[in-house]
């Protein structure tokens, strides 16, 4: 790696989108108007070029797989050292940059078509692109940052962009509420994240990645003492709190479904492909810390597995296409954390990478439907769209197959790998992964069948149409990605089909230096293709082939069930729903988690607030009143003596004189 190239291009990657955002924001309302997408489009395009250059640098690097370039001093520690603004480039960074800038560029192109109504830019057009540019800047800063403080900066900044974009249609109360909810739920996660960073500084006296991780690997803190496992667990779990918020894991997933109030391109970019994967990125980046604590790894795996399952159950019965996809995103992120928790970090990153393609595709496809349906996205209001929107249908079908884990498409490779690693660690985790895979293919195809198959229906007064070229090109590009992206990292399916399916594991080799801590420090690690200890009979019986066949079969079964219930005999679905009314209701209402939050958290806090105001007004001000009442009372008492009547003064003078005389004459002290 050449330092000059790295520093120049990493600066450009961050600054070009920012410049685009500033131009769009400053010139958009007056000069650019309907052309406001151009500065951001060019800025993000430039960032993509930079990401490719950096990827090339990393790929061609021989011995050094990591480079840190300090840019300038930022905040003083008070001890003569500074937290610097620096960038760190390694294979993980370069992959994240490619994903972020690539998807961003496609989304910006798509938004050029989407953010228009009858080819007229919607209100706030320039604002939209300015926010997107700001987001790309923040996300790149997050993955490029060379220390925890910059990670935190990027972390908060992407949260801000998410807030602004969810609330883009701010005059809609639901959008404004969703935006605030997203920000606040993330803040709860960041509370732990921030404390984790403080604890890192307290332990290692530094926030620099290289310094900290070097010390973690040696196991000594700044003072030279051995760091206890408990301390590692504490740091890892605190950091994980941040990931739980940002990547929408249980119990902080509640903001993501609501975030669908934002425009669809935003859902595709921020709430599917990039920002929500920041948590995964962070855990991989801090692999040394996490791998040093078996407890933390177990927590990560269990939270991931549970979230994957839990979110999938809620996706089963929703009718809003974007919400189904949102729960699906939560569920897929759960898979990624499951992968991390079972020491298969490269599989998790691989899934992050393939997921970016097909989930962005699905959201953009849903956006295309929404655009055509005049803003409606609930598939109870339309159906049979495949004849009206053939391109959207075809690309969404590909995306759905990839999500469902249909053999040989992108999702198939990465998801199988995670489930395999999970089985190697614990059969229960693996089983949860498999069951979730079944549900995934069911809910995905329930959505596809309900929206695109059957009798053609559109909402009244809507002129349904296929979307224009600006929107279709990104869909096609992503669909190609959803088919082929998985071939970058074929590892566990030996075969000889035109050389494509050879388990070359290129992606995994590329990532090897980054995920090393998971292998070195990992207690029960299972490398891809190897069977670890304690994996039990499941792995022994389900060989690679077995698992592959099982998951393929589950994908097909899920699609089949969806076909039966939604296309073949919809009556059956109604019968099932009526047979389990309570279950359906609970799932449809998302387990009443939101209601519980308001009732058990928000309301008590508001009551506490009112109590505080009461204390202010009555207790504290009461005491103040009492204190001031003393002089006032004294004055009131003494006022009687100054009534201004001469005889009164004379009388008191006489009495006083008499008293004095008595004291002088009969006093004992004289």
């Amino acid at each position: 790696m050449v330092e000059g190239t790295i520093s120049t291009w990493s600066m450009l990657i961050m600054l070009l989108p920012l410049l685009g955002a500033v131009l769009a924001g400053a010139l958009g309302p007056t000069v650019l108007k309907g052309r406001s997408h151009w500065p951001v489009l060019l800025g993000v395009g430039g960032a993509l070029v930079g990401a490719v250059v950096i990827f090339g640098q990393v790929r061609d690097a021989h011995d050094e797989h990591q480079m840190v370039v300090p840019l300038y001093d930022w905040i003083s520690t008070g001890a003569g050292t500074w937290f610097s603004v620096s960038v760190l480039v390694d294979p993980l960074t370069s992959i994240m940059l490619l994903v972020v800038t690539g998807v961003s560029l496609l989304v910006v192109i798509y938004a050029r078509g989407y953010m228009r109504d009858h080819n007229e830019p919607v209100r706030g057009y320039e604002r939209f692109f300015a926010y997107i540019g700001l987001f790309v800047f923040s996300m790149c800063a997050l993955v490029l940052g060379g220390n925890f403080l910059l990670l935190y900066l990027g972390w908060e900044a992407v949260g801000l962009c998410s807030y602004l974009l969810i609330g883009f249609y701010y005059d809609k109360p639901a959008a404004a509420a969703a935006a605030k909810k997203a920000f606040l739920v993330n803040r709860i996660g960041d509370f732990g994240f921030g404390l984790g960073i403080l604890l890192i500084y307290l332990t290692f006296n530094s926030l620099d990645y290289q310094t900290v991780f070097a010390m973690v690997e040696m196991g000594f803190d700044a003072a030279g003492d051995k760091v206890s496992t408990g301390r590692f667990t504490a740091i890892a779990l605190l950091l994980f709190c941040g990931a739980v918020g940002k990547s929408a894991q249980f119990p902080l997933y509640v903001w993501l479904p609501d975030a669908m109030e934002g425009p669809s391109p935003v859902s595709a970019l921020i709430h599917a492909a990039t920002m929500v994967t920041a948590g995964v990125y962070m855990v991989v980046r801090c692999g040394a810390i996490f791998a040093a604590s078996p407890t933390a790894m177990a927590v990560v795996a269990c939270v991931g597995a549970f979230t994957a399952f839990f979110a999938a159950t809620m996706a089963l019965v929703q009718t809003d296409m974007k919400r189904i996809l949102a729960y699906s995103t939560v569920s897929q992120l759960g898979y990624m954390f499951l992968g991390l928790g079972v020491f298969a970090a490269e599989a998790a990153v691989f899934h992050l990478y393939t997921h970016a393609f097909f989930k962005a595709l699905l959201f953009l496809g849903a956006g295309s439907v929404m655009h055509a349906m005049g803003g409606k996205i609930d598939f109870r209001e339309f159906g049979g769209l495949r004849r009206i929107m053939p391109w959207t249908y075809a690309t969404m079908l590909i995306g759905s197959l990839a999500l469902a884990g249909f053999p040989l498409l992108a999702g198939f490779w990465s998801k199988d790998e995670i489930i395999h690693a999970a089985f190697a660690q614990d059969w229960l985790l693996g089983t949860v992964g498999l069951v979730t895979a079944l549900m995934t293919s069911f809910y995905t195809f329930r959505m596809v069948f309900r929206a695109f198959h059957g009798v053609t229906r559109v909402p009244e007064g809507v002129h349904a149409h296929e979307s224009g070229g600006w929107m279709l090109v990104p869909l096609v590009v992503l669909a190609i990605g959803a088919i082929f992206a998985g071939y970058a990292g074929v590892t566990m399916h030996p075969g000889g089909f035109v050389g494509l399916f050879e388990p070359h594991g290129w992606f995994h080799h590329f990532l090897e230096p980054v995920v090393e801590p998971f292998k070195v420090n990992g207690v029960g690690h299972v490398a891809a293709g190897h069977v670890g200890e304690g994996s039990g009979w499941v792995v022994a019986h389900l060989s690679h082939y077995g698992l592959m066949y099982a998951s393929s079969a589950l994908a097909l079964i899920g699609i089949g069930i969806a076909y039966v219930l939604c296309v073949d005999s919809p009556m059956l679905a109604a019968v099932i729903r009526r047979a389990f009314p309570r279950t359906h209701e609970v799932l449809y209402n998302k387990y009443y988690v939101d209601e519980a939050c308001i009732r058990w958290i928000v309301e008590p806090l508001k009551r506490a607030g009112r109590f505080c105001v009461g204390v202010d007004n009555f207790v504290i001000d009461g005491i103040v009143w009492f204190v001031t009442a003393v002089p006032r009372g004294l004055g009131w008492g003494l006022r009687g003596l100054q009534q201004g009547a001469l005889q009164g003064y004379a009388a008191s003078m006489v009495v006083g004189l008499a008293l004095l005389l008595v004291i002088v004459l009969f006093g004992t002290w004289t």
Binding site: P70, G80, D171
Partner: protein, 554 residues
């Protein structure tokens, strides 16, 4: 010129007051122009002072000490035992507070152009007098001057609230005045006793109120613990009320709600910092042992106050009162940082003073602009303003983000350093002794950060988003305002916004000036090592040294 520049800064607003008094009548545009011009001249003089300060630091090599000093005998002097002086000077901390004051005052004056239509002359004269008082506190190096200016600020603000305030203005003005006077009388008693103690037990047998002399006395261990204890309580009585520190904060919400916009801006922006500055300048350096002993107690109150005021802010329906409570919450962070007795914490606290001045001052300006149009600040009566007023929405969201500590903006620097200092307080890194706090204090304080986001975003959502709601017959354009912000209003807010961004991205120049001054003032010696440092002067220099050995090993 170097010794006169601070006096010039102090005198220039007074010259403006004189000009205002020469004019005829009560109203008319000339008064506001005179006031604005004067405050701009003061700002320019302050910038000149800043650059001279920089030169003086470079030429003398004394980054930590006072510069641009001027000292003239005031009371006593010569052969007498009493030596009270007009002594002004600034160090790396006060120079930034002087800049903050002179920066905010013209903006506050400009912001009053359309709001103040009656008795303009008196209004602007009082604002300028207020500026003199605040600057005097930051420049004073003699405690009598410090105290006189500290108290003097009450008078202009009392009239500003009582005459140009809202409907309940008189009660607010009285409460504000009596509350703060009651506390600072105790402070003055403490000051006198401190000087007397120095006179009776000090080496020179002179009754002096010189801050440096008294600081040296406090740090040399001459003050026994019981004396420090009582002095700390006496100082805290005045300063804590001014901060305002939980639980003596109840004057602030009322005063803020009733004050005119410019009064609120200067009250939140600068006046509250007089309290924390007092702790920084007097309590910590002069009474190091008491500060250490009181540390956990003060920190606990600060932490309780952070969450308490945040919760109280959440249930307010008056926007201005909400921001007022947020000040109480934020100043809790300031106090927490001070009592961490760690470089990072105290630096963060001083940064927090400046940052809070900028972002909260700006918030009050924006709210004032809204109030001028709608004549209400009730969250129930207004909503959805982002649509007709995109510029106002931009600024309100921007300063909200600055206020809740978004990294990349100014608020984050102070907040982070305060938490860092608090969390690492009881370790003995950075060549300083352990402070009284620890990681356990950082956890509840961090909860305050969540709550801070809760109420500020709630306020933004209610005021800016959702369907449009406006009281009937509004917006009021009778004073020449447009629907969205006018050019004047934008030009008031833009400079603050620019400074917020610059301070968030590139705080190095500020931190670099502050740190030596803080090291010299607070950590000339730390409590636990006081004896050995006094015995060995060479070590004393060591503890000041950290700023010289900068590195990049973040």
């Amino acid at each position: 010129m170097a010794d006169w520049i601070l006096t010039l800064v102090l005198i220039s607003p007074l010259a403006g007051v004189l000009l205002l008094m020469l004019g005829r009548g009560e109203d008319g545009p000339r008064f506001r122009l005179i006031a604005l011009g004067t405050s701009l001249v003061t700002f320019i003089l302050a910038v000149v002072a800043f650059s001279m300060f920089g030169q003086s630091v470079t030429s003398s090599g004394q980054a930590g000490g006072f510069h641009l000093e001027q000292s003239v005998a005031w009371i006593g002097g010569g052969e007498s035992d009493v030596d009270i002086r007009y002594h002004v000077g600034i160090d790396g901390v006060s120079v930034w507070l002087v800049l903050l004051t002179t920066f905010l005052t013209p903006l506050a004056i400009w912001g009053s152009f359309s709001a103040i239509t009656k008795r303009a002359r008196g209004y602007y004269a009082l604002l300028l007098l207020l500026e003199v008082g605040m600057l005097g506190v930051f420049c004073a190096m003699d405690l009598l001057l410090f105290y006189v200016c500290f108290e003097f600020t009450l008078i202009p603000l009392f009239f500003l609230i009582g005459i140009w305030g809202g409907s309940d203005r008189q009660r607010a003005a009285n409460k504000f005045f009596i509350y703060t006077v009651a506390g600072s009388v105790l402070t003055f008693a403490g000051v006198l006793y401190l000087a007397y103690y120095g006179y009776a037990h000090g080496p020179d047998q002179v009754f002096t109120l010189d801050i440096q002399t008294l600081t040296a006395m406090g740090q040399s261990g001459l003050l026994p613990m019981d004396v420090q204890w009582w002095l700390f309580v006496a100082f805290a009585a005045g300063f804590a009320i001014k901060v305002p520190f939980f639980p003596v904060h109840t004057w602030l919400p009322l005063a803020h709600t009733e004050a005119p916009t410019a009064g609120s801006v200067l009250l939140a922006g600068v006046l509250l910092k007089l309290g924390t500055y007092g702790f920084f300048r007097l309590s910590l350096p002069v009474l190091p042992d008491a500060a250490f002993v009181f540390g956990p107690f003060m920190a606990t109150l600060a932490i309780v106050g952070i969450s308490y005021a945040a919760l109280a802010a959440w249930v307010q329906t008056d926007v201005k009162k909400l921001v007022a409570y947020s000040s109480v919450s934020h100043l809790g962070f300031c106090m927490l940082g001070l009592f961490s007795l760690k470089m990072a914490g105290v630096t963060g606290s001083v940064m927090y003073m400046v940052n809070h001045g900028l972002s909260t001052g700006a918030l009050f300006l924006v709210i004032g602009m809204m109030y001028e149009r709608y004549h209400t600040r009730d969250i129930h009566e207004i909503g959805g303003l982002a649509k007709p007023m995109p510029w106002m929405a931009f600024f309100l969201v921007f300063f909200t983000l600055s206020s809740i500590g978004l990294p990349g903006l100014n608020g984050f620097i102070g907040e982070f350093l305060v938490l860092l200092g608090t969390a690492t307080s009881n370790t003995e890194t950075d060549a300083l002794a352990a402070g009284p706090l620890g990681y356990g204090y950082a956890i509840p304080a961090a909860i305050g950060i969540i709550l801070g986001a809760v109420y500020m975003l709630w306020m933004c959502q209610r005021v800016l988003f959702g369907p449009l709601r406006e009281p009937v017959n509004t917006p009021d354009r009778s004073t020449g305002l447009t629907r969205d912000l006018t050019l004047r209003e934008k030009l008031i807010l833009v400079p603050i916004g620019v400074v917020c961004v610059v301070m968030g991205v590139w705080p190095k120049p500020i931190l670099e000036t502050m740190e030596p001054a803080i090291a010299a003032n607070v950590f000339h010696q730390s409590p636990a090592t006081s004896e050995q440092l006094v015995l060995d002067p060479s070590e004393m220099d060591d503890s000041v040294a950290p700023e010289t050995k900068e590195g990049h090993a973040s």
